[in-house]
C-alpha cells in the first residue's frame, strides 16, 4: 500500500494534510523544458526519472530537461517525498501536465498548419498531418510561436505551460516475493545469510537501475532490522545504543549481495501504470529473514525468535528449546518407567 495517498482517504483517517502532488511543465522558446515538481528527492534520482518521462513524451533529449524542486521559491506547490509516492503521484502529475501542454501545442500547430486537430499526429517531437508526413511542424517551432504569440488561435494565452495537481484515486499496490536462505551455527548462534532473492512488481518501471537500487537499499535495511538493529533503552530510559559503534547499521561485510528480479503488472489506477518501490524492500525483508531462521531451527522445536536475531538471542533461543525438549523427553521417560 504505497503512493500516499488519496486525500479523502487521508481525511477519513483524520490526517491533517492531503496526498496530492503538483507538477508544472513549461516549454521555453528554444524548446528546452522546465519541470517543476513538488517531490523532494534525497537520493532517489528524481531528476533523472522525470527527465526520462519528459524526453519520451515530448521527443526532446533528457539533457534538455531542467528539473526544479526542493525549494519553495522555485516549486511552491507540493507535498514532498515519503511513503513511496514520488513517482506514483508526482510522476503521474508530470505526465498529466505533459498531456495538457501537448494539447495546447496541438491546438497551436493545427491553427498554424491550417489542419484539424484530430488530423494531426505527434511523434518524435513533431506534429504532422496524418498521411502527409511532409506537412509537419516540430514542437520546437510551436514553442517559439507560443512565445512570440504572433499567430495564436483566438483567445489563447501565449506560452506553453501547464500545471496539474494530481490527487490519486487509490494507493498503489506493489507486491513481491522475497526468499531468504540462512545457515545458523547452533553453537554460536551466528547467522549467515547465504542467499537473498527479491522479486518485486512495482508496475511499469521508468528506470530499472534506480528501481534495483531502491530494492537493494530497502532489503538491507529490513535484513538489518531482522539481524542487527535495535534502539535499546535501559530501565532508567537511557538509550544505550546511541552511537554507530553500538547501534548496528551493517557494513558491507555484514550483508550479502542480493538477486533481484521483477515482474511488471502495470497499475490500473494511473496512466503511467506505475507503483511505488522505495519501501518494498524493507517490507519484504524482515519476515523473509526471520522465517528462514525459524525454519532452520524448527527441528529443535523453535517456533519464533525475537528481532534482532543476534547470535546471543539465537543461542539463548536454542538453549531454551533444548531445555524444553529435554524436559519433555525426561517426562516421557519418567512416564514409561
Amino acid at each position: 500500500m504505497c503512493g500516499l495517498a488519496p486525500s479523502r482517504v487521508l481525511a477519513s483517517l483524520n490526517y491533517t494534510a492531503g496526498g496530492w502532488e503538483s507538477a508544472t511543465v513549461r516549454i521555453t522558446p528554444t524548446n528546452k523544458v522546465q519541470v517543476v515538481s513538488g517531490a523532494t528527492p534525497h537520493g532517489q534520482g528524481h531528476e533523472t526519472s522525470w527527465s526520462m518521462i519528459v524526453a519520451d513524451r515530448l521527443g526532446v533529449d533528457p539533457s534538455d530537461v531542467e528539473v526544479l524542486h526542493s525549494d519553495t521559491a522555485l516549486s511552491p506547490l507540493g507535498l514532498d517525498t515519503y511513503g513511496s509516492r514520488s513517482l506514483a503521484v508526482g510522476g503521474v502529475a508530470i505526465s498529466m501536465a505533459l498531456d495538457k501542454v501537448l494539447d495546447k501545442a496541438r491546438a497551436i500547430a493545427a491553427h498554424q498548419m491550417e489542419a484539424a486537430e484530430e488530423d494531426l499526429e505527434f511523434a518524435q517531437g513533431s506534429f504532422s498531418v496524418r498521411g502527409s508526413p511532409d506537412h509537419a511542424m516540430p514542437l520546437a517551432a510551436v514553442a517559439f510561436e507560443a512565445f512570440t504569440a504572433h499567430n495564436l488561435p483566438d483567445g489563447m494565452e501565449p506560452n506553453l505551460e501547464a500545471q496539474v495537481t494530481y490527487d490519486p484515486p487509490n494507493f498503489s499496490w506493489p507486491f513481491g516475493t522475497h526468499i531468504c536462505i540462512v545457515e545458523v551455527d547452533e553453537e554460536t548462534g551466528a547467522i549467515d545469510v547465504v542467499k537473498y532473492v527479491a522479486v518485486d512488481d512495482c508496475g511499469n518501471q521508468i528506470n530499472p537501475l534506480i528501481v534495483e537500487g531502491q530494492v537493494h537499499g530497502g532489503v538491507i535495511q529490513g535484513l538489518a532490522q531482522a539481524l542487527y538493529e535495535e534502539a535499546v533503552y535501559d530501565d532508567d530510559g537511557n538509550l544505550t545504543t546511541s552511537t554507530l559503534a553500538d547501534y548496528l547499521v551493517p557494513a558491507a561485510s555484514d550483508v550479502p549481495s542480493i538477486t533481484t528480479g521483477s515482474t511488471i503488472t502495470p497499475s490500473p489506477t494511473n496512466p503511467l501504470g506505475v507503483k511505488g518501490v522505495g519501501e518494498a524492500g524493507t517490507i519484504g525483508a524482515a519476515p523473509a529473514v526471520i522465517n528462514a531462521v525459524v525454519d532452520a531451527l524448527a527441528h529443535l522445536g523453535v517456533t519464533d525468535i525475537a528481532m534482532p536475531a543476534s547470535p546471543e538471542t539465537v543461542w539463548a533461543t536454542i538453549q531454551q528449546a533444548n531445555k524444553k525438549a529435554n524436559k519433555k523427553a525426561n517426562k516421557k521417560a519418567g512416564e514409561s518407567r
Partner: protein, 463 residues
C-alpha cells in the same frame, strides 16, 4: 484530445545513468552543513539526561561568560516565540490526547534528549563548549520504557492527561463472522511479536540554517528535510510568520528514510532565534545526539490471531497493537501504526472477518514517527510470520532439517503459502511448488476479485 506516449519509448525502461551523480561524486554538492553562511551564529542544544523529570532551575550565567557565546535560552524564556505548540499533523481520533510540546521543554522533560536550553555562539565548538557550563537542576521522576508498563498507567508520563494512552483506534469488519470464525476454527494461531525501535541513521546528520533578510522580515530556512513544503506551512503556523515571508529550501539531502519527514525543534529554534537576533542561525546534530533527538521508527507490540478452517484457509484475523508514541507526538507519530491496519491480511484471501485495534501509548523515550515502510513492514511481518506458524501446525509433513535435501518442505514457509491462496489447495507433500497464478485484476482494476470482495473498496472507507 490527448497524445499517447510514443509506441517505442527510447528512454523509459532503460538503465539511464543518473544526472545527479557527478556533483555528488566530486564533492561539489552542498548539503545543509556545507552551506557557506557568513556571520551565522551556531546553535547548540542542552538536552535532558533524564528520561522523566521536573526542571526545577536553569542557570546559564557561566555559559554566557564563555568565549564566543552570544545568548542562552531556556524553554521558559522562549514561550512568547511560538504561536502554537509543535505541530502534530495526525490526531487519529477526535479524542486523541496530545500533551503540549514546545521546541524547548517547559516544566518537565519527557525523554533523554529532550531539549532544555538553546545556546548561540560564534562557532559550533564554542556553542557546544558552553553547554557544559549550564547548570540545570532536575527533580527526577520514574521512567516508562516498557509498553505493557506504559499501558497499565502505573506511572503517568504526562500527568495532566490522566493516562498514558493517547488513543485507541479500531477497524472492525464483520464482528459476528469473526467471532464465529474463531469459534469454528480448526486451526488457530496466537502470536505476540515485538517490533523493536529502530533508528534511521541516515548518513547525513540533521542540520538546518535560518537566514533572515536584513530588512523586510523575509527569511529562508535551509534544512536537511524531506518535506520543505510541509515544513513551510508548519513553520508559518507554529511561529506566526506569514507564509509570504518564508522560503524553505532542502539542499542536497543525505538520506531520510522518514527521519527527516518531520518538523523539528531545532528548525523552529533556528527560525525564531534568527528573527530575534537578526542574524543567520545554523545547527547540525552530532550522531549520538541525533540518535536521541531524531525520531525513531517502529516500537510496537503486536498480538496477532489467525483462525483457519480444516483446509488451512483463513477465516478470521484479530490484531491488537500497543504502539509506542515516545515522550511526545511528532508530526505523524500517532498515524504510523495505522498505515498497516489495511495490510494485516497480506496477500491472502480473507472473508469479511477482521478486527484491528491499536492503542498508542506515551513512554519516556524518543518520539517515534515514520521509518521506511511506516506501519506496513510491521503488518507484513506479523501476517507472514503467523502464516508460517499456521503452515507449520496445519501441515501433515513434519519440518525437516537441512536445506539441501527436500527443497519443497524446507523452503521458507512464505513461498508455500501461495498454495493456500490458490483456488485449489495443492497437496503439501508434492515435491515442486505449484507455479504462482498470474496476477488477476477485476474489471475495475482492483486487486484479485476473491480478495476484493472481502476487502473494503475505496468508496466504503469510513468518513
Amino acid at each position: 484530445m490527448t497524445t499517447t506516449a510514443a509506441a517505442a519509448a527510447p528512454f523509459i525502461g532503460t538503465r539511464m545513468l543518473r544526472r545527479e551523480d557527478a556533483p555528488l561524486l566530486t564533492g561539489e554538492s552542498l548539503y545543509t552543513d556545507d552551506l557557506p553562511i557568513p556571520g551565522a551564529l551556531h546553535l547548540a542544544v542542552l538536552r535532558s539526561p533524564y528520561a522523566h523529570a521536573r526542571i526545577t532551575s536553569v542557570d546559564v550565567t557561566a555559559a554566557l561568560a564563555m568565549p564566543g557565546v552570544v545568548a542562552a535560552y531556556s524553554g521558559d524564556d522562549l514561550t512568547d516565540m511560538w504561536a502554537g505548540p509543535m505541530p502534530s499533523a495526525w490526531a487519529v481520533t477526535e479524542d486523541m490526547l496530545n500533551p503540549p510540546h514546545y521546541p524547548l521543554a517547559v516544566g518537565t522533560v519527557n525523554y533523554v534528549g529532550d531539549g532544555v536550553v538553546a545556546v548561540l555562539a560564534n562557532s559550533n565548538a564554542e556553542a557546544r563548549d558552553a553547554l557544559e557550563a549550564i547548570v540545570v537542576e532536575y527533580d527526577p521522576l520514574p521512567a516508562v520504557v516498557d509498553l505493557d508498563d506504559a499501558i497499565s498507567d502505573r506511572v503517568l508520563v504526562h500527568e495532566e492527561l490522566g493516562t498514558n494512552s493517547a488513543y485507541t483506534w479500531e477497524l472492525k469488519i464483520g464482528d459476528e463472522a469473526l467471532a464465529q470464525a474463531f469459534a469454528d476454527a480448526t486451526y488457530t494461531v496466537k502470536e505476540r511479536f515485538t517490533q523493536q525501535r529502530l533508528i534511521a541513521m541516515a548518513m547525513e546528520p540533521r542540520a538546518c540554517a535560518a537566514v533572515p533578510q536584513p530588512f523586510g522580515g523575509d527569511l529562508t530556512l535551509y534544512s536537511a528535510t524531506q518535506i520543505p513544503h510541509i515544513l513551510k506551512v508548519m513553520v508559518a503556523l507554529t511561529m506566526g510568520i506569514p507564509e509570504s515571508q518564508l522560503r524553505v529550501v532542502a539542499p542536497s539531502v543525505g538520506g531520510g528514510f522518514g527521519s527527516k519527514l518531520d518538523v523539528y525543534a531545532e528548525e523552529l529554534l533556528c527560525v525564531g532565534l534568527a528573527n530575534k537576533h537578526r542574524l543567520p542561525v545554523r545547527w547540525v546534530e552530532e550522531r549520538t545526539e541525533g540518535a536521541q533527538a531524531t525520531v525513531q521508527g517502529r516500537g510496537q507490540i503486536q498480538e496477532m490471531e489467525l483462525a483457519a478452517d480444516a483446509d488451512g484457509h483463513l477465516t478470521g484475523i484479530r490484531v491488537n497493537l500497543i504502539a509506542d508514541m515516545g515522550g511526545y507526538q511528532q508530526l505523524i507519530t500517532a498515524g504510523v501504526p495505522l498505515l498497516g491496519a489495511f495490510l494485516y491480511a497480506g496477500v491472502y484471501d480473507l472473508p469479511q472477518a477482521y478486527s484491528f485495534t491499536c492503542t498508542g501509548v506515551y513512554t519516556t523515550m524518543t518520539p517515534t514517527d515514520a521509518y521506511r515502510g511506516a506501519g506496513r513492514p510491521e503488518a507484513t511481518y506479523a501476517i507472514e510470520r503467523s502464516m508460517d506458524r499456521l503452515a507449520q501446525i496445519s501441515s501433515p509433513t513434519p519440518p525437516s532439517p537441512g536445506w539441501s535435501t527436500t527443497p519443497a518442505t524446507t523452503m521458507p514457509r512464505s513461498t508455500r503459502h501461495s498454495r493456500w491462496s490458490a483456488t485449489t489447495p495443492s497437496a503439501p507433500s508434492s515435491s515442486t511448488a505449484a507455479p504462482p497464478e498470474a496476477p488477476r485484476t477485476s474489471a475495475s482494476g482492483c486487486p484479485p476479485t476473491s480478495r476484493c470482495a472481502a476487502w473494503p473498496r475505496l468508496e466504503c472507507w469510513p468518513r
